[in-house]
């Protein structure tokens, strides 16, 4: 096979999420902030055991599961009933990069 490596879907998802998080960090707002906040809240709930892994929404599956795999300890410190603290977004951006 000529190509040793094909483009992986997850790399691409990560690239697009980097764009979104950069926008949020830079502008403190973004048309996608609601989507991202929902994903973070869902990840918090799964990390704390109040939601089941099997019920994770497919629309944001990659982001939620990436947070669960690589950001779980921090998720357990966050409160799902409050707004996401501003410092969390750059932390996730670094994680995705």
């Amino acid at each position: 096979m000529y190509l040793a490596q094909v483009i992986k879907n997850d790399d691409v998802k990560s690239d697009f999420y980097i764009n979104i998080f950069e926008d949020i960090v830079k502008n403190h707002d973004s048309s996608f902030k609601v989507l991202v906040d929902d994903a973070i809240l869902e990840a918090i709930n799964v990390a704390k055991g109040t939601a089941d892994i099997y019920s994770i929404n497919n629309n944001r599956y990659f982001l939620v599961t990436t947070l669960l795999e690589r950001f779980k300890f921090r998720l357990t410190e966050l409160n799902s009933s409050q707004n996401i603290p501003d410092e969390v977004y750059p932390e996730i951006l670094n994680l995705l990069k």
């Binding site: 998802k13 764009n19 629309n59 599956y61 990436t66």
Partner: protein, 357 residues
């Protein structure tokens, strides 16, 4: 990677669009999809891509690859090429799982005899992210998602081997709904396999789901064909042993409680999705029209899916049944023609009834 990559991709795409522009499709949605891709291509071409930053180049490279792949499948899904009957059956099955008119099943015909596979498709999440990017940048969107199925050219009207496509559709549904990936996450707390053990677990889970998905519709016929092309294949990194696959499907068809089916259904229930269950209705072979060399009539879609099992039963018993006086080549053609006509009659009639409702 720099802007020259984008430039080369655009030049190659220009050629590709020029060749595809005269395609005639049986489905107007394919034509609309083609036009959307072309509009997007034009916008990218008019953009000042020489000034893209590294991230924009990466995103556009991916986007242009998506357009390329879509064109490849659209080119193989024109009026005279597309295997309309089997695609109609797959659309009925898909409708049980994903109630969404935003999908178009397209096929690519391969020259290799065993090339039945589903091209990695954009997940729901990737599709939305891609569209958000396109909308932000160009004010456009791609409204339909392609389900890209590759099948061997010489077998595109072979309805005995077409049962494999139900298995392939199972992979698509799994991929869209993250079923096997969720099971991996639950068992190993990872969202991607990271070693041989987890990779094997994910691969085997995906294969079992696709087998069970197919068995829901085509009964044991997918297993029968598996026995022809992969008899006694042992466990491998990518697939469970043929014997294990057949046993799991048979247990499911016989309504025996098995751990993997129970786990799939637990997940499907918690995700508010349909469960794995028998979705075909058996037709008694002694009374079926096929034995009189007539196309079979179906009461409903669940009987339609059973036509593949019926075809296999007749093929397997051809030395003893009404086909015994025919040569094997004639038997093969008769079985395939009868299945094709049976499906075609049902689909035409259903479309007619739906149009008059």
């Amino acid at each position: 990677m720099d802007y020259k990559t984008i430039e080369l991709n655009l030049c190659q795409l220009e050629e590709s669009f020029a060749k595809s522009r005269s395609n005639i499709y049986s489905d107007f949605r394919k034509e609309e999809h083609f036009q959307e891709l072309y509009a997007l291509f034009q916008k990218i071409k008019e953009n000042d891509y020489q000034k893209f930053d590294e991230q924009e180049i990466l995103n556009h490279n991916y986007l242009l690859n998506v357009i390329f792949k879509s064109l490849e499948y659209l080119d193989n899904s024109t009026l005279n090429v597309t295997p309309y009957e089997i695609i109609s059956c797959l659309e009925f099955a898909l409708n049980d799982w994903i109630k969404d008119d935003d999908f178009i099943i397209v096929t690519s015909l391969s020259n290799k005899k065993t090339d039945f596979y589903l091209e990695t498709t954009l997940s729901e999440e990737s599709f939305e992210l891609l569209n958000q990017f396109i909308n932000n940048k160009y004010g456009l969107k791609i409204s339909k998602k392609l389900i890209q199925i590759s099948l061997p050219k010489i077998l595109s009207r072979d309805y005995l081997s077409s049962v494999v496509l139900y298995h392939e559709l199972g992979h698509f549904v799994d991929n869209q709904l993250n079923i096997s990936k969720k099971m991996l996450l639950k068992k190993y707390s990872i969202n991607q396999p990271n070693d041989d053990e987890t990779s094997r677990y994910l691969n085997h889970t995906m294969e079992y789901f696709a087998d069970l998905f197919a068995a829901q519709y085509v009964n044991n016929s997918s297993n029968t064909y598996l026995g022809y092309i992969a008899p006694e294949h042992p466990d491998s990194q990518t697939h469970p042993a043929t014997r294990s696959r057949i046993n799991v499907s048979l247990d499911f068809l016989n309504s025996k409680s098995i751990e993997i089916v129970d786990e799939f259904n637990k997940l499907l229930h918690l995700s508010s999705l349909p469960l794995l269950e028998i979705r075909h209705s058996k037709i008694d072979i002694s009374y079926c029209n096929l034995t009189k060399l007539y196309p079979q009539n179906f009461e409903d879609v669940s009987e339609l899916h059973y036509i593949f099992q019926l075809g296999w039963d007749i093929w397997e018993d051809a030395e003893n049944n009404f086909l015994k006086e025919f040569s094997s080549r004639q038997r093969y053609n008769i079985v395939n023609n009868l299945i094709e006509k049976s499906i075609s009659n049902y689909v035409v009639q259903k479309n007619w009834e739906d149009a008059n409702e």
